[in-house]
Subunit: 323 residues, 2 copies
Protein backbone atom coordinates (compact mmCIF):
# COMPACT_ATOMS: atom_id res chain seq x y z
CA UNK A 1 0.00 0.00 0.00
CA UNK A 2 1.22 3.47 -0.81
CA UNK A 3 2.04 5.84 1.99
CA UNK A 4 0.33 8.72 0.18
CA UNK A 5 -2.85 8.81 -1.84
CA UNK A 6 -2.99 11.88 -4.09
CA UNK A 7 -6.14 13.07 -5.84
CA UNK A 8 -5.81 15.65 -8.60
CA UNK A 9 -5.40 16.18 -12.31
CA UNK A 10 -3.30 14.37 -14.89
CA UNK A 11 -3.33 16.65 -17.89
CA UNK A 12 -1.78 18.02 -21.05
CA UNK A 13 -0.48 21.57 -20.83
CA UNK A 14 0.56 24.02 -23.52
CA UNK A 15 2.76 26.81 -22.19
CA UNK A 16 4.56 29.82 -23.58
CA UNK A 17 7.25 31.52 -21.55
CA UNK A 18 9.98 34.00 -22.56
CA UNK A 19 12.25 30.94 -22.80
CA UNK A 20 10.23 28.81 -25.20
CA UNK A 21 6.92 27.12 -25.84
CA UNK A 22 5.68 23.56 -25.51
CA UNK A 23 2.44 22.00 -26.75
CA UNK A 24 0.41 19.30 -25.00
CA UNK A 25 3.05 18.09 -22.61
CA UNK A 26 2.44 15.83 -19.64
CA UNK A 27 1.32 17.90 -16.64
CA UNK A 28 -1.42 18.20 -14.01
CA UNK A 29 -1.37 18.64 -10.25
CA UNK A 30 -1.33 14.91 -9.43
CA UNK A 31 1.50 14.36 -11.92
CA UNK A 32 3.81 16.95 -10.40
CA UNK A 33 2.79 16.04 -6.86
CA UNK A 34 3.41 12.31 -7.28
CA UNK A 35 6.70 12.67 -9.17
CA UNK A 36 8.04 14.91 -6.40
CA UNK A 37 6.65 12.86 -3.50
CA UNK A 38 7.89 9.58 -4.99
CA UNK A 39 11.44 10.54 -4.03
CA UNK A 40 10.41 10.12 -0.41
CA UNK A 41 7.68 7.45 -0.14
CA UNK A 42 5.47 5.31 -2.42
CA UNK A 43 2.57 7.30 -3.87
CA UNK A 44 -0.72 6.31 -5.52
CA UNK A 45 -2.64 8.66 -7.79
CA UNK A 46 -6.40 8.95 -8.18
CA UNK A 47 -7.27 10.83 -11.37
CA UNK A 48 -8.96 10.54 -14.76
CA UNK A 49 -7.47 10.66 -18.25
CA UNK A 50 -9.13 10.48 -21.66
CA UNK A 51 -8.82 7.83 -24.31
CA UNK A 52 -6.28 10.11 -26.04
CA UNK A 53 -3.83 9.81 -23.17
CA UNK A 54 -0.53 8.31 -24.30
CA UNK A 55 0.70 5.11 -22.71
CA UNK A 56 4.21 6.58 -22.78
CA UNK A 57 3.04 9.35 -20.45
CA UNK A 58 1.69 6.83 -17.96
CA UNK A 59 5.08 5.12 -18.24
CA UNK A 60 6.73 8.32 -17.04
CA UNK A 61 4.81 8.10 -13.79
CA UNK A 62 5.27 4.35 -13.55
CA UNK A 63 9.02 4.80 -13.99
CA UNK A 64 9.04 6.63 -10.66
CA UNK A 65 7.09 3.79 -9.06
CA UNK A 66 3.82 5.75 -8.87
CA UNK A 67 0.82 3.44 -8.34
CA UNK A 68 -1.57 4.21 -11.22
CA UNK A 69 -4.28 1.69 -10.38
CA UNK A 70 -6.56 4.59 -9.38
CA UNK A 71 -6.20 6.43 -12.70
CA UNK A 72 -9.48 6.03 -14.56
CA UNK A 73 -9.33 5.99 -18.34
CA UNK A 74 -12.62 7.50 -19.58
CA UNK A 75 -14.07 8.01 -23.04
CA UNK A 76 -13.29 11.55 -24.14
CA UNK A 77 -10.37 13.95 -24.09
CA UNK A 78 -7.78 14.43 -21.37
CA UNK A 79 -7.90 17.71 -19.40
CA UNK A 80 -6.01 20.41 -21.30
CA UNK A 81 -4.76 23.80 -20.15
CA UNK A 82 -2.88 26.50 -22.03
CA UNK A 83 -1.19 29.60 -20.64
CA UNK A 84 1.30 32.32 -21.44
CA UNK A 85 3.71 33.74 -18.83
CA UNK A 86 4.90 37.32 -18.41
CA UNK A 87 8.52 38.33 -19.03
CA UNK A 88 9.45 37.99 -15.36
CA UNK A 89 7.43 34.72 -15.06
CA UNK A 90 5.49 36.18 -12.12
CA UNK A 91 2.19 36.54 -14.00
CA UNK A 92 0.38 34.29 -16.39
CA UNK A 93 -2.64 34.45 -18.64
CA UNK A 94 -4.75 31.34 -19.08
CA UNK A 95 -5.37 30.97 -22.82
CA UNK A 96 -7.73 28.01 -22.63
CA UNK A 97 -9.06 25.39 -20.26
CA UNK A 98 -10.65 22.24 -21.66
CA UNK A 99 -11.96 20.07 -18.84
CA UNK A 100 -12.57 17.00 -21.04
CA UNK A 101 -13.08 13.87 -18.95
CA UNK A 102 -12.25 15.87 -15.86
CA UNK A 103 -15.74 17.39 -16.03
CA UNK A 104 -17.25 14.01 -15.12
CA UNK A 105 -14.51 12.89 -12.81
CA UNK A 106 -15.82 11.15 -9.69
CA UNK A 107 -12.90 9.94 -7.65
CA UNK A 108 -13.39 6.47 -6.25
CA UNK A 109 -10.96 4.89 -3.88
CA UNK A 110 -10.16 1.20 -4.12
CA UNK A 111 -10.44 -0.75 -0.90
CA UNK A 112 -6.68 -1.31 -0.76
CA UNK A 113 -6.00 2.43 -0.89
CA UNK A 114 -8.45 3.49 1.80
CA UNK A 115 -5.87 2.91 4.49
CA UNK A 116 -3.16 5.17 3.05
CA UNK A 117 -1.94 7.13 6.06
CA UNK A 118 -1.35 10.34 4.09
CA UNK A 119 -3.90 11.96 1.82
CA UNK A 120 -3.28 14.84 -0.56
CA UNK A 121 -6.37 16.59 -1.88
CA UNK A 122 -5.28 18.43 -5.01
CA UNK A 123 -7.03 21.52 -6.29
CA UNK A 124 -10.48 20.12 -7.26
CA UNK A 125 -14.07 20.82 -6.20
CA UNK A 126 -14.20 20.93 -2.37
CA UNK A 127 -17.12 18.47 -2.31
CA UNK A 128 -15.06 15.96 -4.29
CA UNK A 129 -12.14 16.55 -1.93
CA UNK A 130 -14.33 15.85 1.08
CA UNK A 131 -15.91 12.85 -0.66
CA UNK A 132 -12.46 11.28 -1.02
CA UNK A 133 -11.64 12.03 2.60
CA UNK A 134 -14.86 10.36 3.71
CA UNK A 135 -14.09 7.20 1.75
CA UNK A 136 -10.80 6.78 3.61
CA UNK A 137 -9.98 5.27 6.96
CA UNK A 138 -9.05 8.40 8.96
CA UNK A 139 -5.55 9.23 7.63
CA UNK A 140 -2.72 10.38 9.86
CA UNK A 141 -2.47 13.56 7.83
CA UNK A 142 -4.62 15.27 5.22
CA UNK A 143 -3.07 18.01 3.10
CA UNK A 144 -5.14 20.15 0.78
CA UNK A 145 -4.75 22.72 -1.97
CA UNK A 146 -7.43 25.04 -3.33
CA UNK A 147 -7.73 28.16 -5.50
CA UNK A 148 -9.65 31.40 -6.01
CA UNK A 149 -12.26 29.63 -8.18
CA UNK A 150 -13.40 27.48 -5.24
CA UNK A 151 -12.84 30.18 -2.59
CA UNK A 152 -15.13 32.56 -4.45
CA UNK A 153 -17.60 30.12 -5.97
CA UNK A 154 -17.92 27.22 -3.53
CA UNK A 155 -17.20 28.77 -0.17
CA UNK A 156 -19.67 26.79 1.93
CA UNK A 157 -18.39 23.49 0.53
CA UNK A 158 -14.80 24.62 1.01
CA UNK A 159 -15.45 25.53 4.65
CA UNK A 160 -16.63 21.97 5.30
CA UNK A 161 -13.46 20.62 3.69
CA UNK A 162 -11.21 23.00 5.64
CA UNK A 163 -12.76 21.67 8.84
CA UNK A 164 -11.42 18.14 8.22
CA UNK A 165 -7.90 18.79 6.89
CA UNK A 166 -4.60 19.15 8.71
CA UNK A 167 -2.41 21.09 6.31
CA UNK A 168 -3.57 23.76 3.88
CA UNK A 169 -1.10 24.62 1.11
CA UNK A 170 -2.10 27.77 -0.80
CA UNK A 171 -0.49 30.94 -2.12
CA UNK A 172 -0.43 34.52 -0.77
CA UNK A 173 -3.34 35.78 -2.84
CA UNK A 174 -5.47 32.75 -1.95
CA UNK A 175 -4.71 33.22 1.76
CA UNK A 176 -5.79 36.85 1.56
CA UNK A 177 -8.92 35.98 -0.39
CA UNK A 178 -9.89 33.14 1.92
CA UNK A 179 -9.45 35.22 5.08
CA UNK A 180 -10.47 38.65 3.84
CA UNK A 181 -7.34 39.98 5.57
CA UNK A 182 -4.56 41.79 3.71
CA UNK A 183 -2.00 41.33 6.49
CA UNK A 184 -0.53 37.84 6.16
CA UNK A 185 -0.17 37.21 9.89
CA UNK A 186 -3.81 38.17 10.44
CA UNK A 187 -4.87 36.08 7.45
CA UNK A 188 -3.05 33.07 8.84
CA UNK A 189 -4.60 33.42 12.28
CA UNK A 190 -8.05 33.49 10.73
CA UNK A 191 -7.41 30.51 8.44
CA UNK A 192 -6.04 28.40 11.30
CA UNK A 193 -9.32 29.05 13.11
CA UNK A 194 -11.19 27.45 10.16
CA UNK A 195 -9.74 24.02 10.81
CA UNK A 196 -6.27 23.42 9.37
CA UNK A 197 -3.62 22.58 11.99
CA UNK A 198 -0.98 24.29 9.88
CA UNK A 199 -1.01 26.68 6.94
CA UNK A 200 1.71 26.80 4.30
CA UNK A 201 1.61 29.98 2.26
CA UNK A 202 3.47 29.64 -1.03
CA UNK A 203 5.07 32.88 -2.15
CA UNK A 204 6.55 31.82 -5.47
CA UNK A 205 10.11 32.96 -6.03
CA UNK A 206 10.22 34.32 -2.47
CA UNK A 207 9.66 31.08 -0.61
CA UNK A 208 7.02 29.89 1.82
CA UNK A 209 5.68 31.08 5.16
CA UNK A 210 4.45 28.46 7.60
CA UNK A 211 1.96 29.06 10.40
CA UNK A 212 1.09 26.51 13.06
CA UNK A 213 0.04 26.26 16.64
CA UNK A 214 2.52 28.50 18.46
CA UNK A 215 4.99 28.91 15.62
CA UNK A 216 5.58 30.79 12.42
CA UNK A 217 8.57 30.31 10.18
CA UNK A 218 9.83 31.05 6.72
CA UNK A 219 11.66 28.98 4.15
CA UNK A 220 13.23 30.89 1.26
CA UNK A 221 13.07 29.71 -2.32
CA UNK A 222 16.38 28.85 -3.94
CA UNK A 223 17.63 31.70 -6.08
CA UNK A 224 18.55 30.04 -9.35
CA UNK A 225 19.44 30.84 -12.90
CA UNK A 226 17.91 28.83 -15.72
CA UNK A 227 14.30 29.19 -14.61
CA UNK A 228 12.19 28.60 -17.73
CA UNK A 229 8.68 27.48 -16.73
CA UNK A 230 7.03 27.87 -13.32
CA UNK A 231 4.13 25.54 -14.15
CA UNK A 232 3.82 22.78 -11.56
CA UNK A 233 6.08 24.46 -9.02
CA UNK A 234 3.32 24.62 -6.40
CA UNK A 235 2.30 20.99 -6.92
CA UNK A 236 5.92 19.81 -6.84
CA UNK A 237 6.37 21.82 -3.66
CA UNK A 238 3.36 20.10 -2.10
CA UNK A 239 4.70 16.71 -3.25
CA UNK A 240 8.11 17.24 -1.70
CA UNK A 241 6.49 18.61 1.46
CA UNK A 242 3.95 15.85 2.03
CA UNK A 243 6.36 13.15 0.80
CA UNK A 244 9.05 14.25 3.21
CA UNK A 245 6.60 14.55 6.12
CA UNK A 246 5.36 11.02 5.40
CA UNK A 247 8.95 9.75 5.28
CA UNK A 248 9.81 11.43 8.59
CA UNK A 249 6.69 10.02 10.26
CA UNK A 250 7.11 6.91 12.36
CA UNK A 251 4.50 4.98 14.31
CA UNK A 252 3.92 6.95 17.45
CA UNK A 253 3.66 10.61 18.26
CA UNK A 254 6.95 11.91 16.77
CA UNK A 255 5.51 14.39 14.34
CA UNK A 256 2.59 15.32 16.53
CA UNK A 257 3.31 18.50 18.46
CA UNK A 258 2.69 19.41 22.04
CA UNK A 259 -0.11 21.64 23.35
CA UNK A 260 -2.64 21.12 20.62
CA UNK A 261 -0.31 21.51 17.68
CA UNK A 262 -0.54 18.56 15.39
CA UNK A 263 2.67 18.91 13.44
CA UNK A 264 6.04 19.50 14.96
CA UNK A 265 7.88 22.57 13.79
CA UNK A 266 11.23 20.88 13.08
CA UNK A 267 9.75 18.14 10.89
CA UNK A 268 7.62 20.66 9.07
CA UNK A 269 10.61 22.91 8.39
CA UNK A 270 12.58 20.03 6.91
CA UNK A 271 9.57 19.05 4.80
CA UNK A 272 8.96 22.58 3.54
CA UNK A 273 12.64 22.64 2.59
CA UNK A 274 12.12 19.39 0.67
CA UNK A 275 9.16 20.94 -1.14
CA UNK A 276 11.26 23.99 -1.98
CA UNK A 277 14.01 21.79 -3.40
CA UNK A 278 11.61 19.74 -5.54
CA UNK A 279 9.96 22.89 -6.91
CA UNK A 280 13.37 24.30 -7.80
CA UNK A 281 13.94 21.42 -10.23
CA UNK A 282 10.51 21.77 -11.77
CA UNK A 283 10.97 25.43 -12.74
CA UNK A 284 14.27 24.69 -14.50
CA UNK A 285 12.58 22.70 -17.26
CA UNK A 286 9.36 22.72 -19.24
CA UNK A 287 6.63 20.46 -17.88
CA UNK A 288 8.04 17.60 -15.84
CA UNK A 289 11.45 17.47 -17.53
CA UNK A 290 13.28 19.38 -14.78
CA UNK A 291 11.71 17.23 -12.09
CA UNK A 292 12.43 13.99 -13.95
CA UNK A 293 16.08 14.93 -14.36
CA UNK A 294 16.54 15.33 -10.59
CA UNK A 295 18.59 12.47 -9.15
CA UNK A 296 18.75 11.67 -5.44
CA UNK A 297 22.29 13.09 -5.46
CA UNK A 298 21.13 16.32 -7.07
CA UNK A 299 18.30 16.62 -4.54
CA UNK A 300 20.71 16.13 -1.64
CA UNK A 301 23.09 18.70 -3.06
CA UNK A 302 20.36 21.25 -3.54
CA UNK A 303 19.11 20.64 -0.02
CA UNK A 304 22.63 21.57 1.11
CA UNK A 305 22.49 24.73 -1.02
CA UNK A 306 19.15 25.64 0.55
CA UNK A 307 20.47 25.09 4.06
CA UNK A 308 23.44 27.31 3.35
CA UNK A 309 21.30 30.01 1.76
CA UNK A 310 18.80 29.95 4.60
CA UNK A 311 21.47 29.82 7.32
CA UNK A 312 20.43 26.40 8.66
CA UNK A 313 22.47 23.61 10.09
CA UNK A 314 22.39 21.16 7.17
CA UNK A 315 20.20 18.07 7.60
CA UNK A 316 19.78 15.11 5.27
CA UNK A 317 16.49 14.55 3.51
CA UNK A 318 14.77 11.18 4.06
CA UNK A 319 15.07 10.15 0.40
CA UNK A 320 14.15 6.67 -0.80
CA UNK A 321 17.27 4.96 -1.99
CA UNK A 322 15.56 2.31 -4.07
CA UNK A 323 14.44 2.66 -7.65
CA UNK B 1 34.01 61.16 15.34
CA UNK B 2 31.04 59.16 14.22
CA UNK B 3 31.55 55.66 12.90
CA UNK B 4 29.09 56.28 10.06
CA UNK B 5 28.51 59.32 7.93
CA UNK B 6 25.09 59.21 6.22
CA UNK B 7 24.08 61.50 3.36
CA UNK B 8 20.43 61.71 2.43
CA UNK B 9 17.19 63.55 2.99
CA UNK B 10 15.59 64.92 6.13
CA UNK B 11 12.02 65.64 5.13
CA UNK B 12 8.36 66.05 5.95
CA UNK B 13 6.09 63.30 4.63
CA UNK B 14 2.33 63.11 4.29
CA UNK B 15 1.06 59.56 3.98
CA UNK B 16 -2.28 57.84 3.66
CA UNK B 17 -2.58 54.12 4.30
CA UNK B 18 -5.61 51.91 4.98
CA UNK B 19 -4.76 52.36 8.66
CA UNK B 20 -4.72 56.13 8.86
CA UNK B 21 -3.22 59.32 7.54
CA UNK B 22 -0.54 61.69 8.78
CA UNK B 23 0.43 65.14 7.51
CA UNK B 24 3.94 66.60 7.41
CA UNK B 25 5.59 64.22 9.80
CA UNK B 26 9.35 63.87 10.30
CA UNK B 27 10.80 61.54 7.65
CA UNK B 28 13.50 61.27 4.98
CA UNK B 29 16.09 58.65 4.14
CA UNK B 30 18.81 60.05 6.40
CA UNK B 31 16.33 60.32 9.29
CA UNK B 32 15.28 56.67 9.16
CA UNK B 33 18.80 55.49 8.42
CA UNK B 34 20.41 57.35 11.31
CA UNK B 35 17.73 56.49 13.88
CA UNK B 36 18.14 52.79 13.02
CA UNK B 37 21.95 52.82 12.81
CA UNK B 38 22.28 54.77 16.07
CA UNK B 39 21.33 51.64 17.98
CA UNK B 40 24.66 50.16 16.90
CA UNK B 41 27.24 52.96 16.48
CA UNK B 42 27.42 56.77 16.53
CA UNK B 43 26.11 58.30 13.30
CA UNK B 44 26.46 61.73 11.70
CA UNK B 45 24.01 63.05 9.12
CA UNK B 46 24.74 65.29 6.14
CA UNK B 47 21.52 66.81 4.80
CA UNK B 48 19.65 70.07 4.26
CA UNK B 49 16.48 71.36 5.87
CA UNK B 50 14.50 74.55 5.26
CA UNK B 51 13.91 77.46 7.61
CA UNK B 52 10.51 75.92 8.36
CA UNK B 53 12.06 72.84 9.95
CA UNK B 54 11.00 72.44 13.57
CA UNK B 55 13.65 72.41 16.27
CA UNK B 56 11.64 69.68 18.00
CA UNK B 57 12.21 67.43 14.99
CA UNK B 58 15.96 67.95 15.18
CA UNK B 59 15.64 67.10 18.86
CA UNK B 60 14.21 63.71 17.90
CA UNK B 61 17.42 62.86 16.06
CA UNK B 62 19.58 64.43 18.76
CA UNK B 63 17.80 62.33 21.39
CA UNK B 64 19.28 59.23 19.71
CA UNK B 65 22.74 60.84 19.78
CA UNK B 66 22.80 61.55 16.04
CA UNK B 67 25.46 64.15 15.14
CA UNK B 68 23.59 66.93 13.31
CA UNK B 69 26.51 69.28 12.71
CA UNK B 70 26.35 68.41 8.99
CA UNK B 71 22.67 69.33 8.63
CA UNK B 72 22.53 72.62 6.70
CA UNK B 73 19.64 74.94 7.43
CA UNK B 74 18.89 76.81 4.19
CA UNK B 75 16.42 79.56 3.31
CA UNK B 76 13.32 77.95 1.83
CA UNK B 77 11.10 75.00 2.52
CA UNK B 78 12.05 71.55 3.74
CA UNK B 79 11.73 68.66 1.25
CA UNK B 80 8.14 67.36 1.28
CA UNK B 81 6.70 64.15 -0.12
CA UNK B 82 3.14 62.86 -0.10
CA UNK B 83 1.90 59.38 -1.01
CA UNK B 84 -1.04 57.03 -0.72
CA UNK B 85 -0.64 53.28 -0.21
CA UNK B 86 -2.74 50.44 -1.65
CA UNK B 87 -4.93 48.26 0.54
CA UNK B 88 -2.25 45.58 0.87
CA UNK B 89 0.48 48.24 1.39
CA UNK B 90 2.50 46.75 -1.49
CA UNK B 91 1.91 49.64 -3.91
CA UNK B 92 1.95 53.35 -3.47
CA UNK B 93 1.11 56.41 -5.51
CA UNK B 94 3.21 59.52 -5.06
CA UNK B 95 0.78 62.42 -4.69
CA UNK B 96 3.35 65.21 -4.64
CA UNK B 97 7.06 65.84 -4.35
CA UNK B 98 8.30 69.29 -3.34
CA UNK B 99 12.09 69.41 -3.40
CA UNK B 100 12.36 72.74 -1.57
CA UNK B 101 15.89 73.35 -0.29
CA UNK B 102 16.84 69.86 -1.43
CA UNK B 103 16.96 71.19 -5.02
CA UNK B 104 20.04 73.25 -4.17
CA UNK B 105 21.57 70.79 -1.72
CA UNK B 106 25.33 70.49 -2.14
CA UNK B 107 26.62 68.15 0.53
CA UNK B 108 29.82 69.37 2.14
CA UNK B 109 31.74 67.31 4.62
CA UNK B 110 33.40 68.96 7.59
CA UNK B 111 37.05 68.09 8.09
CA UNK B 112 36.27 66.16 11.27
CA UNK B 113 33.84 63.88 9.44
CA UNK B 114 36.05 63.02 6.49
CA UNK B 115 37.61 60.16 8.38
CA UNK B 116 34.38 58.32 9.22
CA UNK B 117 35.17 54.71 8.43
CA UNK B 118 31.65 53.92 7.14
CA UNK B 119 29.82 55.96 4.54
CA UNK B 120 26.17 55.60 3.56
CA UNK B 121 25.16 57.30 0.34
CA UNK B 122 21.39 57.69 0.48
CA UNK B 123 19.22 57.86 -2.59
CA UNK B 124 20.37 61.18 -4.15
CA UNK B 125 21.93 62.21 -7.49
CA UNK B 126 24.80 59.80 -8.26
CA UNK B 127 27.19 62.72 -8.92
CA UNK B 128 26.44 64.12 -5.47
CA UNK B 129 26.97 60.63 -4.01
CA UNK B 130 30.35 60.36 -5.68
CA UNK B 131 31.23 63.93 -4.70
CA UNK B 132 30.76 63.01 -1.04
CA UNK B 133 32.82 59.86 -1.47
CA UNK B 134 35.64 61.87 -3.03
CA UNK B 135 35.70 64.34 -0.14
CA UNK B 136 36.30 61.49 2.31
CA UNK B 137 39.43 59.71 3.38
CA UNK B 138 38.89 56.29 1.79
CA UNK B 139 36.29 54.67 4.12
CA UNK B 140 36.46 51.05 5.16
CA UNK B 141 33.02 50.51 3.66
CA UNK B 142 30.75 52.50 1.36
CA UNK B 143 27.10 51.49 1.13
CA UNK B 144 24.78 53.03 -1.42
CA UNK B 145 21.10 53.21 -2.32
CA UNK B 146 19.59 54.40 -5.60
CA UNK B 147 16.26 54.30 -7.46
CA UNK B 148 14.63 54.03 -10.89
CA UNK B 149 14.84 57.80 -11.39
CA UNK B 150 18.66 57.72 -11.37
CA UNK B 151 18.95 54.34 -13.07
CA UNK B 152 16.91 55.56 -16.01
CA UNK B 153 17.91 59.21 -16.08
CA UNK B 154 21.52 59.36 -14.89
CA UNK B 155 22.96 56.01 -15.85
CA UNK B 156 26.47 57.16 -16.81
CA UNK B 157 26.89 59.02 -13.52
CA UNK B 158 25.46 56.07 -11.61
CA UNK B 159 27.91 53.67 -13.25
CA UNK B 160 30.81 55.81 -11.99
CA UNK B 161 29.34 55.71 -8.48
CA UNK B 162 28.76 51.95 -8.59
CA UNK B 163 32.44 51.51 -9.43
CA UNK B 164 33.54 53.00 -6.09
CA UNK B 165 31.06 51.48 -3.62
CA UNK B 166 31.19 48.23 -1.64
CA UNK B 167 27.58 47.49 -0.84
CA UNK B 168 24.57 48.29 -3.02
CA UNK B 169 21.20 48.19 -1.25
CA UNK B 170 18.28 48.30 -3.70
CA UNK B 171 14.95 46.57 -4.29
CA UNK B 172 13.92 43.82 -6.72
CA UNK B 173 12.55 46.10 -9.39
CA UNK B 174 15.63 48.33 -9.24
CA UNK B 175 17.95 45.33 -9.56
CA UNK B 176 16.06 44.16 -12.64
CA UNK B 177 16.07 47.65 -14.15
CA UNK B 178 19.76 48.21 -13.44
CA UNK B 179 20.82 44.88 -14.93
CA UNK B 180 18.25 44.44 -17.69
CA UNK B 181 17.82 40.87 -16.43
CA UNK B 182 14.51 39.53 -15.18
CA UNK B 183 16.06 36.53 -13.39
CA UNK B 184 17.32 37.74 -10.02
CA UNK B 185 20.40 35.51 -9.94
CA UNK B 186 21.43 36.73 -13.40
CA UNK B 187 20.67 40.32 -12.38
CA UNK B 188 22.87 39.98 -9.31
CA UNK B 189 25.79 38.51 -11.26
CA UNK B 190 25.66 41.43 -13.67
CA UNK B 191 25.41 44.07 -10.94
CA UNK B 192 28.34 42.60 -9.01
CA UNK B 193 30.40 42.98 -12.20
CA UNK B 194 29.64 46.74 -12.13
CA UNK B 195 31.65 47.31 -8.96
CA UNK B 196 29.80 46.53 -5.72
CA UNK B 197 31.42 43.80 -3.60
CA UNK B 198 28.01 42.73 -2.36
CA UNK B 199 24.43 43.35 -3.42
CA UNK B 200 21.50 43.41 -1.02
CA UNK B 201 18.17 43.08 -2.79
CA UNK B 202 15.28 44.28 -0.63
CA UNK B 203 12.07 42.38 -1.32
CA UNK B 204 9.69 44.20 1.00
CA UNK B 205 7.49 41.93 3.07
CA UNK B 206 9.37 38.90 1.72
CA UNK B 207 12.81 39.73 3.06
CA UNK B 208 16.19 40.33 1.44
CA UNK B 209 18.46 38.34 -0.86
CA UNK B 210 22.19 38.89 -0.52
CA UNK B 211 24.76 38.23 -3.23
CA UNK B 212 28.52 38.39 -2.71
CA UNK B 213 31.69 36.84 -3.93
CA UNK B 214 31.01 33.11 -3.73
CA UNK B 215 27.85 33.29 -1.68
CA UNK B 216 24.15 33.98 -1.91
CA UNK B 217 21.79 33.96 1.01
CA UNK B 218 18.35 35.02 2.05
CA UNK B 219 16.99 36.68 5.16
CA UNK B 220 13.20 36.61 5.59
CA UNK B 221 11.22 39.59 6.79
CA UNK B 222 9.42 39.18 10.09
CA UNK B 223 5.78 38.32 9.58
CA UNK B 224 3.96 40.74 11.84
CA UNK B 225 0.52 42.05 12.56
CA UNK B 226 0.00 45.77 13.15
CA UNK B 227 1.79 46.93 10.00
CA UNK B 228 0.45 50.41 9.30
CA UNK B 229 2.95 52.37 7.18
CA UNK B 230 5.84 50.94 5.12
CA UNK B 231 7.45 54.35 4.55
CA UNK B 232 11.08 54.34 5.64
CA UNK B 233 11.34 50.55 5.89
CA UNK B 234 14.11 50.41 3.28
CA UNK B 235 16.12 53.21 4.90
CA UNK B 236 15.68 51.72 8.37
CA UNK B 237 16.82 48.38 6.93
CA UNK B 238 19.93 50.03 5.51
CA UNK B 239 20.56 51.77 8.85
CA UNK B 240 20.36 48.55 10.84
CA UNK B 241 22.49 46.77 8.25
CA UNK B 242 25.31 49.31 8.00
CA UNK B 243 25.14 50.13 11.71
CA UNK B 244 25.48 46.48 12.67
CA UNK B 245 28.30 45.89 10.16
CA UNK B 246 30.14 48.90 11.58
CA UNK B 247 29.65 47.59 15.11
CA UNK B 248 30.91 44.13 14.16
CA UNK B 249 33.96 45.58 12.43
CA UNK B 250 37.20 45.60 14.41
CA UNK B 251 40.61 46.86 13.37
CA UNK B 252 42.06 44.14 11.21
CA UNK B 253 40.65 41.91 8.55
CA UNK B 254 37.68 40.32 10.35
CA UNK B 255 34.91 41.44 8.08
CA UNK B 256 36.98 41.19 4.94
CA UNK B 257 36.39 37.91 3.17
CA UNK B 258 38.80 35.49 1.64
CA UNK B 259 39.37 35.04 -2.10
CA UNK B 260 38.42 38.48 -3.26
CA UNK B 261 35.22 38.81 -1.24
CA UNK B 262 35.27 42.01 0.74
CA UNK B 263 32.61 41.20 3.27
CA UNK B 264 32.37 37.98 5.21
CA UNK B 265 29.14 36.09 4.84
CA UNK B 266 28.49 35.51 8.55
CA UNK B 267 28.85 39.19 9.52
CA UNK B 268 26.73 40.23 6.59
CA UNK B 269 23.99 37.78 7.54
CA UNK B 270 23.87 39.10 11.09
CA UNK B 271 23.80 42.66 9.76
CA UNK B 272 21.03 41.97 7.26
CA UNK B 273 19.10 40.44 10.16
CA UNK B 274 19.66 43.65 12.13
CA UNK B 275 18.34 45.66 9.20
CA UNK B 276 15.31 43.40 9.00
CA UNK B 277 14.60 43.88 12.69
CA UNK B 278 14.90 47.68 12.53
CA UNK B 279 12.60 47.84 9.48
CA UNK B 280 10.05 45.72 11.32
CA UNK B 281 9.65 48.42 13.97
CA UNK B 282 9.36 51.19 11.39
CA UNK B 283 6.40 49.62 9.58
CA UNK B 284 4.45 49.23 12.82
CA UNK B 285 4.03 52.97 13.24
CA UNK B 286 3.53 56.06 11.10
CA UNK B 287 6.71 57.93 10.25
CA UNK B 288 9.43 57.35 12.81
CA UNK B 289 7.14 56.53 15.73
CA UNK B 290 7.59 52.75 15.47
CA UNK B 291 11.34 53.07 15.23
CA UNK B 292 11.54 55.54 18.13
CA UNK B 293 9.54 53.22 20.36
CA UNK B 294 12.04 50.36 19.84
CA UNK B 295 14.09 49.78 22.99
CA UNK B 296 17.31 47.75 23.02
CA UNK B 297 15.37 45.02 24.81
CA UNK B 298 12.66 44.99 22.14
CA UNK B 299 15.30 44.86 19.40
CA UNK B 300 17.04 41.90 21.07
CA UNK B 301 13.73 40.11 21.48
CA UNK B 302 12.77 40.63 17.88
CA UNK B 303 16.21 39.44 16.74
CA UNK B 304 15.42 36.23 18.64
CA UNK B 305 12.06 36.00 16.87
CA UNK B 306 13.78 36.44 13.52
CA UNK B 307 16.35 33.75 14.30
CA UNK B 308 13.59 31.35 15.26
CA UNK B 309 11.53 32.16 12.17
CA UNK B 310 14.51 31.81 9.87
CA UNK B 311 15.80 28.65 11.54
CA UNK B 312 19.10 30.19 12.72
CA UNK B 313 21.11 29.56 15.82
CA UNK B 314 20.32 32.73 17.76
CA UNK B 315 23.09 35.34 17.99
CA UNK B 316 23.14 38.60 19.91
CA UNK B 317 23.17 41.87 18.05
CA UNK B 318 26.06 44.28 18.81
CA UNK B 319 23.78 46.96 20.27
CA UNK B 320 25.14 50.07 21.97
CA UNK B 321 24.25 49.85 25.62
CA UNK B 322 24.71 53.54 26.42
CA UNK B 323 22.06 56.18 26.16
Amino acid sequence: MSRILAVGSVAYDSVETPFGARKEILAGSATYFSLAASHFVPVAVVAAVGDDFKASDLDVLASRGVDLSGVQRLAGRTFRWAARYSDDLNDRTTLSTELGVFAEFKPSIAAAQRQSPYLFLGNIDPDLQRGVFEEMEPPRLVACDTMNFWIEGRRAALDLTLAVIDLLVINDAEARLLSGESNLASAARKILSMGPKALIVKRGEYGAAVFGSGFVFFVPALILEGVVDPTGAGDSFAGGLVGCLAALDRPGPEIRGKDGGWIEEAALRTAVGAGTVMASFTVQGFGVEGLLAASAEAIEKRQGDLARMAGWTPTRLPLRRQR
